[in-house]
């Protein structure tokens, strides 16, 4: 027998092992929580005991160049429901919502829907912001006496309305109505994902941020900095003290280079042109023109400052105040209703048609063709299978100037075809010179202008690289279509042709390129910078709509200065020749009817874009006065007819307003004021006066990097 107690001792060993492992587990876990993960828990503990109360900074206002308010703040009494607190009430706060319903004039059921966070199976109306943020359900204007009285009852009987919050808040107001809606943009609540982005580092959850237009570009400056009061709280949320407090810092006000008068005139001219085009018989069809959309851009030729930028159809920016409903938003981007939200001036890209001849001509001149040479303008161009002139007209031998004035296509076919042959024709040399493509690039086409507005389109240059890329993208489909017996033989042949060599830059492609037809697309603003460069002696400028940022006390904190994008490679003599030829367009050429008797010398070019499956795009690109160009005006109406019948009269109407022809001038002197509007001590803004800016930052506006977010 073993020694007494030997077996019990063995059995005790089990207990001892258990005890040791228990101790090791606890100590290990303790180390993990307190040392390994300690930092995270320390952060959680400090977050636990503090609550932040945010005082929203007043957002900066937006003024036109003369100090006229385009976007203002209006104080409204906002009634919100704190859903988290409501759900703690009996029956999820049904009784509270029923009491609130008559106050805000909505049914309890609708209120319930509106405060429920969107997502999953929850369909609108629902709440898009943070689930912890009180949801605004109604707002009352300060002059709505009956509404305010009802809200006052809520305040008086707080115990009947737990979870209902009422507070004054600033909401956006548009004193000029729909004027410059696209330029101004709108606000929308920030999404939880976006709050992690560096530019939104100091933005509170579900706060409103700029979503489009200058509201988006200058968001950081306009937003200011919210005041944050950090309160110490205990477990039931009772405030035990204040840890820190920062006062709200009002956002800067933005002065635009936009002139509200010119802007309104441009919008009006655009609307007139659209209405008129809809009565004109379609050149190629049997109805009238659809005139579905259009744009007018007015830009200072020497600075790139945008004076007006109109887009048709437009919308009322106030639909976004308090949040646009899904239906409202859907109708704003609905193609069938013309997608009013699309800013045609920078987001619409169209074939420039004959307005592009200014670029082709520059290319031809720099390629060595004599300015004063004589060229044949036949009704059809034989080397390209009889490719016809516009309307098949024949002018015989003409000068280059006349070719522009009369808008002869066949001369440009010949230039393009010869240059194409020089580059090897159908068997291109290793490095084709493509003078017209190069010139288009140097005029900034195919790339964004860099305007201080979001979501600008770059347009397209239909060059060899473009054809190659498109062919690679579509080849497989066409090659399949080429052998598809279900298709007609013609269709199969066409498909096979593209499948075989759709990437080849043909003579016809070069000719089309020369007259701005085909796949080359430009935005109205791009074309304005092109004509600006011709007008100002070769400087390609970055267009700007922002002019300056003024702090709440009136100091200029930032002034947007003109930025040179590049110089076009065209000699001064050739530029002068172009200006003169373009002047001829309005005196003796395609636009002479529209500008007959106009007291200021205007240079311009009509364009009629032929778009497959659509009606013609009407263009007129111009600048004035010819002797010392100040302003560039570009007009475009999509499916609006010819440049001469629709676009040129529209642009003339804009010039009428600017120079006060037949009516008072909206822009006395035809120039923007050089001084900034003055902010008075009471915060109101007056027209440009004597106040001297105090050391503003000069150059393009770059949003400052926000400091790292503090714990919240």
């Amino acid at each position: 027998m073993t020694a007494p107690g030997q077996r019990p001792r063995l059995r005790l060993l089990v207990l001892q092992v258990l005890v040791v492992s228990i101790l090791a587990t606890l100590l290990g876990r303790l180390w993990f929580l307190q040392v390994y993960d300690g930092r995270a828990y320390a952060a959680a503990a400090s977050q636990n005991r503090v609550r932040e109360v945010v005082t929203t900074a007043p957002r900066g206002q937006v003024y036109d160049v003369t100090g006229k308010a385009l976007v203002r703040n209006r104080t409204a009494l906002v009634v919100s429901v704190d859903r988290a607190r409501l759900l703690k009430e009996p029956a999820d706060g049904e009784a509270v919502l029923r009491r609130l319903a008559p106050v805000v004039g909505k049914s309890a059921a609708l209120l319930r829907q509106e405060i429920t966070p969107c997502g999953g199976t929850v369909r609108p109306p629902c709440w898009r912001g943070s689930p912890y943020q009180p949801v605004p359900v109604q707002e009352f204007a300060p002059d709505d006496a009956a509404g305010l009285r009802r809200v006052l009852r809520v305040e008086e009987r707080k115990e009947d309305f737990p979870a209902v919050v009422t507070r004054f808040a600033a909401v956006r107001e548009y004193p000029a109505g729909t004027t410059a809606a696209h330029v101004l943009g709108y606000l929308g609540p920030i999404s939880p994902q976006e709050t992690r982005l560096p530019q939104y580092a100091d933005v509170q959850e579900s706060a409103l941020v700029g979503r489009s237009g200058v509201e988006a570009t200058y968001d950081t400056a306009l937003r200011g900095r919210d005041g944050v009061q950090t309160l110490l709280v205990d477990h039931v949320g009772t405030v035990t003290g204040t840890q820190s407090e920062t006062a709200p810092q009002a956002g800067d006000s933005l002065v635009l280079s936009i002139d509200a008068g010119v802007q309104a005139a441009a919008e009006q001219a655009l609307a007139h042109a659209v209405a008129k085009a809809r009565t004109l018989p379609d050149r190629g069809g049997d109805g009238t023109y659809k005139a579905d959309s259009g744009s007018v851009v007015v830009m200072e030729a020497k600075t790139g400052r945008v004076v007006a930028m109109a887009s048709y159809p437009s919308y009322d920016p106030s639909v976004f105040v308090g949040g646009a409903s899904d239906e409202e938003y859907a109708s704003l981007v609905d193609e069938a209703r013309g997608a009013p939200l699309v800013f045609r001036a920078i987001q619409g890209a169209y074939a420039p048609a004959s307005t592009f001849k200014a670029v082709s001509t520059a290319a031809v001149l720099e390629d060595g063709y004599p300015r004063d040479g004589t060229y044949q303008c036949p009704g059809a161009y034989a080397p390209l299978g009889g490719k016809r002139n516009f309307e098949g007209e024949s002018f015989g031998p003409v000068t280059l100037r006349t070719a522009i004035v009369r808008s002869c296509d066949t001369i440009f076919y010949d230039f393009a075809y010869k240059e194409w042959l020089r580059d090897g024709g159908n068997t291109p040399v290793a490095h084709p010179k493509d003078p017209m493509v190069r010139m288009a690039q140097r005029f900034g086409l195919g790339t964004r202008t860099g305007v201080d507005l979001p979501s600008e389109r770059s347009g397209t240059i239909a060059d060899r690289a473009f054809l190659q890329q498109r062919w690679e993208r579509l080849k497989a489909n066409f090659c399949k279509g080429a052998v598809n017996p279900a298709r007609s033989p013609e269709r199969r042949r066409a498909d096979k042709e593209f499948c075989d060599d759709g990437n080849r830059f043909r003579g016809g492609d070069a000719a089309n390129f020369a007259i701005g037809q085909g796949d080359t697309l430009v935005t109205p603003l791009q074309l304005a910078t092109v004509y600006g460069a011709i007008a100002n002696g070769g400087k390609l400028l970055v267009p700007h709509v922002g002019r300056a940022l003024l702090s709440a006390d009136g100091t200029t904190v930032h002034e947007v200065r003109p930025v040179l994008r590049g110089r076009v490679p065209v000699s001064p003599v050739d530029l002068a020749f172009l200006r003169d030829a373009l002047h001829g367009v309005t005196t003796e050429g395609t636009a002479r009817g529209s500008f007959a008797g106009f007291p200021v010398a205007v240079a311009g070019k009509t364009g009629t874009g032929e778009v497959a499956g659509k009606q013609d795009t009407a263009w007129f690109a111009s600048f004035a006065p010819v002797e010392d160009p100040e302003l560039v005006v570009v007009g475009m109406v999509s499916q609006g007819g010819t440049g001469a019948t629709t676009a040129a009269p529209m642009v003339r109407e804009v010039y009428d307003a600017i120079y006060g022809v037949g009516r008072p001038s909206v822009l006395p002197g035809g120039k923007l004021p050089t001084a900034l509007p003055v902010v008075r001590p009471d915060g109101t803004v007056g027209p440009p006066g004597t106040k001297v800016p105090v050391k503003p930052v000069l150059g393009p506006y770059v949003p400052p990097a926000a400091p790292a977010r503090t714990s919240r």
């Binding site: 019990p8 001792r9 207990l15 929580l33 040392v35 959680a44 503990a45």
Partner: protein, 389 residues
């Protein structure tokens, strides 16, 4: 007392050394560790309740005072258990067992009271209240040791009949406590039962069988909805604490935040933000360890765990050196009890065990638990005093 009255004839001569004066002394290391734990506990209870008392306009030391009074009463009870004649201890065992059984029955009667969701209390006049289930732990330990240790003095292993008898003995308090329902204390009893049976040398099939039965019963209880909804919810919250951070997972989350934020050195006594902000309910009882974690850091909380380790180590040592099977089983039972209860309590504050309402031995506020714990330590000392070295 006289060892000569024992069945000494069966023992080797070394038995005489039991009477060595050294053997009559107390285990000072154990005493010191327990005293330290009680003292540390008093500080933590004070810190946990100070702010609440101030907020309600009462003396900040209200709980501290009561806690210290409890400790003194416990000290007296424990001394009695330490110095009583082991034979009379055996004589008291049935009395204690029956008394605790009656107490548990009273709890279920209209005289019972519910405190913090547990229907475990008997309210006495003058604001006193007792929790009989704490004393049931002592009764079960001594009772089982008597049944398994008495007859054969530990040299032979218990037979099936003995095991059945012990099971019957344990079943009564377990059933009564389960009816309260107090799952945590029931589990402590199950663990003590398993510990004592193992050390007694019960056939392995019984141990394994009991474990399996336990699993089946637990699974069945969940399936048949015998457990209260809150118990199931606690387990669900344990499995996934982020499930409902404002509801059942709240305690666990806040406890982890308190302990984790303590870091290595802690925020200092009375300086815990979680503690002073009263983010953790029941902090002076079941969640007292979070005060140590937050205010005293890894150093303080680790010391607390190590002190418990010292108690358990001394308990194991006393069991190993016990003069007889009774003493060995008593010590083994106490060690099983303390180790399981400490692990579950601390484990739940650390988020590695589900939330069950078990106090931390010696540290948590609560009279009945304090009395029972100190009596158990007295029992260990009693066994130690009779030991051979």
């Amino acid at each position: 007392m006289s060892a000569g009255l024992r069945p000494a004839g069966l023992r080797p001569p070394t038995v005489l050394r039991e009477r060595d004066p050294r053997g009559r002394r107390l285990d000072l290391v154990l005493l010191l560790a327990v005293a330290s734990l009680v003292g540390l506990g008093a500080l933590l209870v004070w810190s946990a309740t100070r702010q609440r008392m101030l907020d309600t306009g009462m003396a900040p030391t209200t709980f501290l005072t009561k806690h210290l009074v409890n400790a003194v009463i416990g000290l007296l009870l424990g001394s009695f258990a330490a110095f009583v004649d082991p034979r009379s201890l055996r004589a008291y065992a049935p009395v204690v067992y029956v008394a605790s059984g009656i107490g548990l029955l009273v709890v279920l009667s209209p005289l019972g009271a519910t405190v913090n969701g547990a229907h475990s209390w008997i309210l006495l006049p003058a604001g006193f209240q007792i929790q009989p289930s704490e004393f049931a732990k002592v009764a079960l330990v001594v009772g089982m040791a008597m049944l398994l240790g008495e007859s054969r003095d530990g040299e032979a292993e218990p037979r099936d009949g003995d095991v059945l008898l012990v099971l019957a003995l344990a079943a009564v308090p377990m059933a009564l406590i389960m009816l309260q329902p107090d799952l945590g204390t029931t589990l402590v009893l199950v663990f003590v039962l398993l510990g004592v049976l193992s050390v007694a040398g019960a056939p392995a099939r019984w141990i394994v069988g009991l474990l399996l039965a336990g699993v089946v019963v637990c699974a069945g209880a969940v399936q048949l909805h015998v457990l209260g909804d809150y118990q199931v919810a606690r387990f669900a919250a344990f499995a996934n604490p982020e499930l409902d951070p404002r509801g059942v997972g709240y305690n666990t989350n806040q406890a982890k935040i308190a302990i984790g934020s303590g870091g290595v050195w802690g925020k200092g006594l009375f300086h815990g933000t979680q503690t002073n902000g009263r983010f953790i309910p029941e902090q002076q009882t079941d969640f007292v360890f979070t005060v140590a974690g937050e205010e005293l850091g890894l150093v303080g909380a680790g010391t607390l765990v190590l002190l418990l380790g010292v108690v358990l180590w001394r308990g194991c040592r006393i069991a190993a050196n016990a003069p007889d099977a009774f003493g060995r089983l008593v010590a083994a039972g106490v060690v099983s009890w303390f180790s399981f209860q400490s692990f579950v309590n601390i484990g739940m504050t650390l988020g590695i065990m589900p939330v069950t309402g078990l106090p931390l031995p010696f540290v948590s506020y609560g009279g009945s638990a304090m009395f029972a714990n100190l009596v158990a330590v007295g029992l260990l000392q009693n066994v130690h005093r009779g030991s051979r070295d």
